[in-house]
Amino acid sequence: MRKVIGLLLVTLMVLSALAGCSKDSKDDSKATQTDTQNTTTDNNKKENVTLTFGTHQSGLPTSGIIQELAKAYEAESGVKIDFQIVPDAQWRDLLKVKLDSGEAYDMMNVDADPLSLVGRINPEKNCVDLTDQEWVSRMDPIVLDGISVNDKVYGIQFNGVRRSVFFYNKDIFSKLKLEIPTTYDEFKQVCQTIKDSGVTPIYEATQNGWHQVLPVCETGSYYITKYDDLYDKLNKNEMNIKDVKEIGTILNEMKEFADLGYFGDNFMNQSVEGAKEAFAKGEAAMFNNDTGWAVETETEYPEMKGKIGIFVAPWADNQTVSCNPTCNAYFINKNSKYIEEAKGFFAFLARPENLEKLLNGATNLVSLCWKDTSTKENPEYVDYFKSLPAGMVMQVGVSYIDPQWMDIGKDIDAMYSGTMTPEEVLDNISLRRDELAELASDPAWK
């Protein structure tokens, strides 16, 4: 009797496993039939098609405009977009693992720059060539390098050139009779004055893993004024990153600021998303980010309109404007079952009316990298930028920097918590460059 029961149970288990298999094929054939029926309909809507869109937390505008546009696309085409959002600190690693294991999303939001794109997602192997898409010719040529490999375009980008600055609360500065600092010593004095008044001078956020790296890499526009052909020499391995003395200086300055309490007591537990509230409530006086952040803050906190000033971060006495033409861009997975639908979504986003909706709806965007689109850039900021020399950020000009961005972030965390020195952080940046170059069999490192 027991043997009969045992045999029945085993048979049930095997049947349920096989039933699971047959259910998928039935659904596929049903979907195929439905697709066939739908292609013959007038509105050409595709049902039962869901595209997965993988992205990191800060990769999409917090206003939800992309999701709104996706809903509009769904209403028009019947294709659903399923946004799968991952914390910033885990995104790059997770995407790489998913691509290598063949389980990546239909569409991916990737930090795209010309030096790191291949190492990050290897577009030639993993992504769909979009060069023949109509909208490519409408994009600003300056951004195409970041989303192309061997002259083929693989992605679609929306953000225009970004400039990184320190935002300051004009009311706090006015109350404390402070001028914007132009040297490190002035910066220190400003921070001390603000700290003495009971306000946290700078809102720093290390939880996302990337924010603490900005001072080191975004000040590249200053490094290139100190060394001739710096980026070229670093890429040809004719100079070591440790030879750029200003990087060491900046790391020491950041450590000093942390030790002096200019980032507050809780910065190691803070995330970038909390900066707007802290800034608007007057709990923190300054914050480092790109100019789109001011628009976001003013939208969420209208009382801050006209009260957010900017200055370039005077780390190591820097007085240059850092420019970054690259940003996150969307790519289509070559192994996706719905490539045409994904292309359709990109074409939908690229329509002029939708680009304007995106610009108006994305509070963090001040301009787009598309021809014939308007701009939300603050005229006060534009005049300020014109008064200073500009240069490209280090992570776009120097190889093997962006791929180790999150590792640098962890090392800076270690520096702040006292388990690493600034010199060790710089040593590690150099070591990881050598390691990545060796892995890529870079001829300049042989």
Partner: protein, 291 residues
């Protein structure tokens, strides 16, 4: 022996085949790849000898610290979970304790919670400014005990160990309760007659007879601790800095960088550790045969 009731060896062949194909062979292949420069940035796979192992043990990188963190995590969680598991099991099998089943359930429930949920909840609870723990301590006048639990380099690993113990002790408690319930009551009756108190019964009867169960839970703790990843990833992602990085978070990091050879090298080292330490513990806790 009743031959009719003994299962023949070939019954295990299918399971053995699955184990060899999906676990053993990949492990051996991984060890082979650890002697190469296999990575995602180049299609060539070249033999590089012990280069990867040299990198790990040279001290130039942080891998030694990750191995040490793994061993520390394993040792401390083994100790805390076993000790607390035994204490809870003994208390919750004592007839004088009320609502035993309810308490067992309350202690066991964290075990069935997802690591991600536990990580997110504790990150919130342990926030130094807004978290429940520090605010509670300040409310009852114990401000000096309020710390940066997850962002202080000296405390972070111990905090992770504490959270992991809270999550895992229930599982061990259940196993030990099963072991206690299997002990014949005649031993306790005899001890009672001899005038033994609760502690003496526990020390001279319960613990010695629980030795096989303690051996099993030690092995479970060991294999879990050496392979830990989820709780670290969810709570600290190896931070602050690298103070809570362990071997498996490092393997994940190397794989995601595309440095597969280094990832398999670290996994190979972990495999050797698990084998060595398991063997030592099994031999140490084995009952010695009388001659």
């Amino acid at each position: 022996m009743n031959k009719k009731k003994t299962y023949p060896t070939y019954y295990s062949y299918a399971a053995l085949a699955l184990f060899i194909i999906f676990f053993f062979l990949p492990g051996i292949m991984g060890i082979f790849y650890s002697f190469t420069n296999w990575n995602s940035l180049s299609s060539d796979v070249n033999f590089v000898g012990f280069k990867n192992y040299e990198k790990i043990f040279s001290g130039r990188y942080d891998f030694i610290r990750y191995i040490w963190n793994t061993l520390k995590f394993t040792g401390l969680t083994m100790l805390t979970k076993t000790v607390f598991g035994i204490i809870f099991a003994i208390l919750l099998t004592h007839k004088l304790v009320m609502c035993r089943n309810l308490q067992r359930m309350a202690i066991f429930i964290p075990q069935v919670m997802s690591f991600l949920i536990v990580g997110l909840v504790f990150k919130s609870l342990l926030n130094p400014v807004t978290g429940f723990l520090n605010n509670f301590l300040k409310t009852i006048g114990l401000d000096f005990l309020a710390k940066n639990w997850l962002s202080d380099a000296h405390l972070a690993l111990n905090t992770v160990i504490t959270v992991d113990t809270w999550k895992g002790v229930g599982y061990l408690m259940i196993i030990i309760i099963a072991g206690i319930n299997a002990i014949s009551s005649t031993y306790y009756e005899a001890a009672q007659i001899d005038g033994a108190n609760f502690l003496q019964k526990t020390w001279y009867i319960t613990l010695p007879l629980l030795k096989p169960v303690i051996l099993n839970v030690t092995i479970l703790n060991l294999t879990y601790g050496l392979r830990v990843f989820d709780i670290i990833y969810a709570l600290t992602n190896g931070g602050p800095g690298h103070v809570t990085e362990v071997i498996n978070t490092s393997v994940y990091s190397e794989f995601s960088k595309g440095n597969y050879a280094m990832g398999t090298t670290l996994s190979g080292i972990l495999f050797i550790f698990v084998m060595m330490i398991s063997y030592v513990i099994l031999r140490a806790l084995e009952p010695k045969e009388e001659l």
